[in-house]
């Protein structure tokens, strides 16, 4: 293998490492706006397909994400809507 071939392979490896592994997250497709909390929520729920997780780790993440959906959607009995006090 000559130096030229090694250089090309190195550039390809670095290129894939930098750009190839980043699949777009759903939040990348959302319109811009003041929504950082929601974007964070999407990003935290999103698991990159090429993040190098093992099958077990992927399943564990999916389980965690599914259980997290219960928490996210759950309405607590003591929740109230605040419209301000009259006094």
């Amino acid at each position: 293998m000559n130096i030229k071939t090694i250089s090309i392979i190195s550039i390809l490896v670095i290129g894939i490492a930098l750009f190839g592994c980043n699949t777009p997250k759903p939040s990348d497709n959302l319109p811009a706006g003041d929504s950082s909390d929601l974007l964070n929520e999407i990003d935290s729920a999103w698991i990159d397909d090429t993040s190098g997780l093992s099958n077990e780790e992927m399943i564990a993440n999916d389980t965690e994400m599914t259980v997290a959906e219960v928490t996210t959607n759950w309405i607590d009995a003591n929740e109230t809507i605040d419209v301000g006090e009259m006094i």
Binding site: I42, T63, W74, I75, I81
Partner: protein, 322 residues
Amino acid sequence: MRANKIFAGIFLLVLVAMMPIALADDSNNIVDANTANEIKAMNTIYGAEVRLLQLEKSITRNVLVGAKVVEIIETNHPETDVTEAQNLLNQLEVVLDDVKNFDLNQDKNTLVTNFVAMKKEATDIAQQFREITAPMLTEEDKQQAKDSIKEMDKVELNNINQAIREAIRSANANRVEWLLSTMGVSNPQLVQSITDGNATKEQVKEAVKGAFNDLNAEEKKIAGAKVKEQVTKRITAEKYAIQVARENGWKVVLEKEANKLQRLGDWMHNKGIDANANGYEQRAKRMEQISQKMNKFQEQIRDWVSPNSQQNNNSNYGGGNQ
């Protein structure tokens, strides 16, 4: 003289130019962090019902507290004029009627926008009431009112508390049922126990975790992908509803203000006719002038909100709520 006219012209131009900025600020503030969080549950009709009931409870409480405050002022300080406070209380009752008669079958984004507008209206009225009555109340008056509120919370709001409790259970059961079906799982006993109020959030989380773990490897892969897809859809829908509410919520509030002005203008016009019939020509003329100004102003508000829609003076929140 000429300089004054130019100055006045420039001032007006600046004022007109600033109007959209002022309105844009309002539209940004109409959905604060708490409201955004409340909106998330309104993705389903069950969640929307919960939020409407919670809003109804808060406004009902404020109406009761407000009435008590006015009563205390009238009793302890009979020389004080409570007309303005009473007017605000009447306005709050109108908002309460709107909430009670709210149509839950509207398009989801319209529903969220109207919820946000009603909450904003109720919050503004509470703030105005507080500011107007604060100088009228002594510390003893405030304590007297607070003691009454404690009793009200126990007795008067009991029915609505019960309705909220049941609506929350139904909403939670519905969401868990949806999640399980997304995973390709069915667990009617779990759903029923949530509906009956016999399952805590932690117990449900454990049950869902167990259901996921019981799937085989291939089923887990499919369930994970489906849940991921649904989570993305849910979050995108929530974000869109919030954006629509931010853009349109203030328009609903302004339309309501225009309706109030129109009603006042019509009332003043009729009073003017009465005054004229009774021989008070000057008074009738003044009333007619005020009435015309009010109508002109409400037309301007409608023009800002939605150009070419001056004929649309329906005060409903998206229809069917009054």
